[in-house]
């Protein structure tokens, strides 16, 4: 099925979910912000969140640092 990830179309397997997508992207859940169809998800919601065709997903690593 097709979703939109960070503004670009992407094919994922029919039974894919956000957790699997993060694994594919080598993204650590504690270091990213995840938005699904306009709503930012709590970290606890990510693990079991299913994906469906046409979902708009944004996954962004934090931008941070400091002295």
């Amino acid at each position: 099925m097709e979703i939109v990830l960070n503004g670009q179309r992407r094919q994922v397997s029919e039974d894919s979910n956000l957790s699997a997508l993060l694994t594919q992207l080598a993204a650590r859940p504690e270091m990213v912000t995840v938005e699904l169809n306009g709503r930012i998800l709590d970290r606890s919601e990510i693990a079991d969140a299913p994906l469906k065709p046409g979902d708009q997903v944004k996954i962004l690593h934090f931008m941070g640092g400091g002295r």
């Binding site: 960070n6 270091m31 938005e35 962004l60 934090f62 941070g64 640092g65 400091g66 002295r67």
Partner: protein, 133 residues
């Protein structure tokens, strides 16, 4: 390829950093082909003198705009209010954007020091900045 900034864009970055001092300030530079078209001063969610985290909702909004406009994330900037303009260990640890430059503004001395870096797999490389009219 040097990152090109106009004097007005540089002034906007410095103004944001000075306004937020003594807290760290942060933001995003967007554009194409290493030429900055927009400066996004953003909120430091940490509200700290020694660290920054770009507020996630603002980050999502700005990155969405960048994708919609088919621009690029050219640089992430932040200030060091009381330390040199060089990446700290925390800056390196949290450098998740290897294709983005990292601009650091030091306000330690009266004349601000501004330097630009790439941080890839823990390796820091200084990059040129070109200021144009």
């Amino acid at each position: 390829m040097p990152l090109e900034l106009t004097t007005a864009q540089l002034a906007a970055i410095l103004e944001h950093c000075r306004r937020e001092a003594p807290l760290e300030a942060c933001g995003i530079l967007a554009g194409r082909d290493a030429r900055v078209s927009r400066v996004h001063p953003l909120t430091n969610a940490d509200r700290s003198r020694t660290s920054y985290l770009i507020e996630p909702r603002e980050q999502l909004r700005v990155m969405g705009e960048i994708w919609d406009r088919q621009e690029e994330l050219l640089a992430i900037f932040h200030s060091h209010p009381a330390s040199p303009a060089y990446p700290s260990s925390r800056d390196v640890e949290l450098a998740f954007y290897p294709d983005s430059r990292y601009i650091i503004v030091s306000l330690r001395d009266p004349g601000p020091e501004i330097r630009c870096f790439l941080i890839r797999e823990g390796v820091i490389t200084e990059e040129p900045l070109e200021i144009i009219e």
